[in-house]
Each structure stands twice: as C-alpha cells, then as structure tokens.
Amino acid sequence: MREITAPLTDETARSLRAGEQVLLSGTVYTARDAAHLRMLDCLREGRELPFDVRGQVIYYAGPTPTPAGRAVGAIGPTTSVRMDGATPTLLREGLKGMIGKGQRSAAVVEAMRECGAVYFAAVGGAAALMARCVTACEVIAWDDLGAESVKRLTLDRLPLVVAIDCEGRSAFEDGQRAYLEYMMEDKQQQHE
C-alpha cells in the first residue's frame, strides 16, 4: 500500500487516484462545523487562520477525551458534506486534502479539480481502532468549542481510501457501479 505524508505536495495530491488505498502519516488538523464557520469569519475579516492551510490536510473529526497514558481518545471521521459550504474557499486558500466520510457536493468537487486537491475517506465508526494511528493530539485553537476545537494531530500510517481525486473521479460512484455490474453479470450467468 502506498505511504504518503501530510502536508501534501501539489505533486502528491495530483498523483492520487480514486479508489486507491493509502497510509497517511505526518501532521493534519481537525476542524468541524463550528471551526469552519470561524475560519470563514477570519478570512472575511482579514484575520489569520489558526494554521496556514497551504498544503495542509483537514480531518473532519472530534475525538473523545484522551485517556491517561494514551495519545488520543477514539477518533473517526464525521460526515463531510456539512463542511461543503466552507470548503471551496479553503481550497482556494491552498488546502490540499480533506479526510471525512460520505459524498461531497458538485461545488466542492469542482473546486478540488480547480485546485488539485484530494478527498480521503476514513472508515466511519472504526474509532477505537483508528486511535492507534494517532501519536499526538494538541488543541491549537478555539478550546471553547470543546469537541469542535481545532487540534493538531500527528498520524502514523492512518489507513484511508482516496474517495474523490483531483480529476473529480469518485470511489463511491465507481465502487457502487462496479458492484452492481458484477451482480448483473452474475445473474445473467445463472440464467444461461
């Protein structure tokens, strides 16, 4: 399986293809609904973002509190589509990747093509298991948001699927189509 490191270079982001499985290491930042709204406020008002988004990957996640002796609590992706309103703006600011679950809007896919960005899916609900791939977690902004604060995570080989690539190809559409075609063929063969 291909191993990549965040932040992502333009070259890496553009080389990934929908359906490909990767192991992601390096630094990513968590941001959910409330943090996205605040980031848009920052940009509108000309203030600095909590981190420079250029080349970075945002993980749509809010972990459970960290138990003693561990790096992080349970952590898995939240539904990405809720962030779609803010995403094209962040992509145009230089964001290179996102980790979440579920489909994205046409506007996000268009902005991804334009900016050469990639959208990864993590396994939704496999949060106890995926905690093993996070070696450090630190709140860097908006602690008042609690579960929704912005955190810097250090990842060690987090397993992901390239869900939508920089050309707009979708592993959801491709995967479902391939399965349904397989089922149709299977039925036809049973008939023959």
Binding site: A74, K101, G124, G125, A127, F172, R177
Partner: protein, 279 residues
Amino acid sequence: MREIAHEAITEAVAGLSVEANRYLPEDLARALREARQAEEWESARALLDILIENEQVARREEMPICQDTGMAVVFADVGQEVHIDGDFEAAVNEGVRRGYVGGLLRKSIVGDPLRRVNTGDNTPALIHTRLVPGDRLRLTVAPKGFGSENMSRVAMLPPARGVEGVKDFVLETVRLAGANPCPPMVLGIGIGSDFEGVAGLAKRALIQSVDEVNPDPYYAALEKELLEEINRTGIGPQGFGGRTTCLGLHILAAPTHIASLPVAVNVGCHVTRHRTVTL
C-alpha cells in the same frame, strides 16, 4: 409502593452510558459477522473486517466504539407502583453527566440550537417516560450518533399511497443517505400515529434487537422484503459498493387518522447502541 432512590437511577444511567458506548449489543455484533460471511464483494468484506476488529478493540481496551458518543436518549418505563425519592429527570441527567465526564465520552450537546454553546457534560438527556403496570423501573440508554440521525426523514403520505408509498419512501431515504450515515445501517421505521408519534415509533423500532422478528406476520414479511430491497441498492459498507447496506430493520405500526399515512425512518449506523437495566 416500591421506593427507588434517585441515586440508584443516577448510578444506573452513568453505568449504562459508559457501557453502551464501549460494548456493541451482541445481536448487532453477530449481525456484522453474519454480513461478513454473506458478503461477496472483496472491498466490502475488508471494510466489514475492520468494523468487527474495531468493535473487539473497543471492548478490550475500554474505548468508545465510535468517537460520536451521541446524544443520550433515555427510555424509562416507570411502574405505576414505583415511588421515586427525588427529581427523576435531574437524577437521569446527573447520571449522563457522570457517565460522560468520568467515562471520557465526547460532549456533543449544545444548549441552544442557534446560539450553539456546548453544555460541557453532554446534558440534557432526551428522556422518554412511559407509565407501565408493576413496581419496576426499566431504563434504556441509547446514545445516538448524529451522522446517521441527520439522514432520518418523516413523511405524511396520503392513505392512497399505501404500502407501496411506504416502501418507496424507505428506499428513497436509504438512497439519499448513501455513504453519509456510516453504512451498513440499522433502520427504525414508524408507520401510523401522528406527526410526533411516528418519529417516536421509529426511534423505538431502532433500539430493538436486530434479530428480533416482528410478531405480526404481515409486518415481518414487509421487514424482510425491505431489507432485501435495500441490500440490492449496491451502496455497501461506507458507500464503496457491496451487498451489506443494512444490517437489520424494524417496523413499529400504530393506529392513525383516516386522512393520513405517516411514515418515519430513523437511520442508525453500524454502531446502533443501547443498553438496558431494570431496577
């Protein structure tokens, strides 16, 4: 009259909150393993293996199965011969507070839907109380994740749409949900009652054991048909294709008005949690 101390209620709710988030109901864990056996599509099998491993890791390491440890939905069947010493709802909320703070569960509740400040302790719980015969108190804590809750829908269909209308609405809800609610899903379907009642039926249907068979053969057949139909959509685990889109579904039906056919679909994920104790 049988006396139940409010402290006993608090302790029970605290324990149930933590346990429900760490231990997947055995029937659902079994359904996952059976779905893995029945799944033909390779990538779907690999994803189901991850979900099964995750459930085991959570149990072993005393970690929440999912980081969305939910809104604490509490069902209380209160025997009419029971006397509770103190404020019942305060006792439940104190239990949620202790469970979520002490058990290192995520605090996911904002005190107001528009002004959105986190309450910091996952309270208040959503409490559904029913008065029943007897002198026992049955408490169920069902932490509800909102990735799946957001995909739930209610429709007030005209009676002429009949069972076909219900089937179409359920299938449409599943297709619209797609990859978002962490499929494989569990569905609770309410049919009948009124606007608020039908959603309550769907929620109660969602926390039944997935292997429970509807006692009414008409609805048992409809459940089976819907499950097969849903598992032909091709959505598959996490929306990446496959047979396993839904692990189980239940229908709860109730009397309704001559002018309406209410239907509600409460969408749950593969971590549809609930835990019950009787005091």
